[in-house]
Amino acid sequence: MTPPAENVHWLFATLLLGFGLCLLARAIVGETLWNGSTWRRYLLPTVLFGIGAAMWPVTVFFVVSPIHMLAHTSWAQLMMLAGIAQLGLVVGRLTSRWWNLLVPLALSVSGAMFVIHERNPWLFMRSSFLHHLIGWTLIIGSLLPLALVFRPRSTVLSAGFAGLAIAVSVMLYADRDLAPIFGHLSPLAGTKPAVTEVQP
């Protein structure tokens, strides 16, 4: 039983929200204190890897078009790769800080894929608008983890990265399969409005 796309977006939003809150906590207490506990040290890389792994069922069950499959596969692979690299750095098997570059790479490619695999214009319907918005937010926001590679102890950059994850999760929660955006809903999008739109 394949879930509706909006439910999948909301479940990913939940994962991202948890990831963002943990990033925020790490930004507040600092990396040294955060890494003081073994399970906490592994938490963020594991969640990152988990988000990538969770993309595979999406790849399999939502084969709308080849570009959708390509987008979801690239996401899955890069998020898993970034998670594994972070895990390697935490364990000490990887020592070069340049492995951290995989995080901004994963985010920027994810953003590009959001934009590329959305074939409709911004105001076609709400999900189209949000796909474009999330895509560009991720592309521009990937500068934050990129800057963190060079200034890993910056509280502002760390908090900004957490804010990025939380902002994207809010956008994903706002996603509906069929709903207008700023009063616009293309007649080509369908006729059955989402539950939110029939409410007073």
Binding site: M1, P3, P4, N7, T14, I28, L33, Y173, T196
Partner: protein, 88 residues
Amino acid sequence: MEIEVAGPLERASHTAWRVVALSAIGPLTVLAGVVWTVAQPYRLTLLDPRAHGAWDHIAQPPLLVAAIGLLFHLLVARPLRQTLERSP
């Protein structure tokens, strides 16, 4: 003399600020979920179970937000706060 006193005081104030910020994240997230439920009660499918499918019951955004806030507070923020308070 003033400088010697200001150092530990400033550090204590900084730690207190971090404890407050850390302790507030979880409850604020739960509050966001509760406010969302009040603002958009139709997103809570529990209120009208027969009109929705299984996936709608699994993924109820306001409940998920509140649950994440609660889990974060209990599993991450609380132990981290204790560590922070014990740290020199």
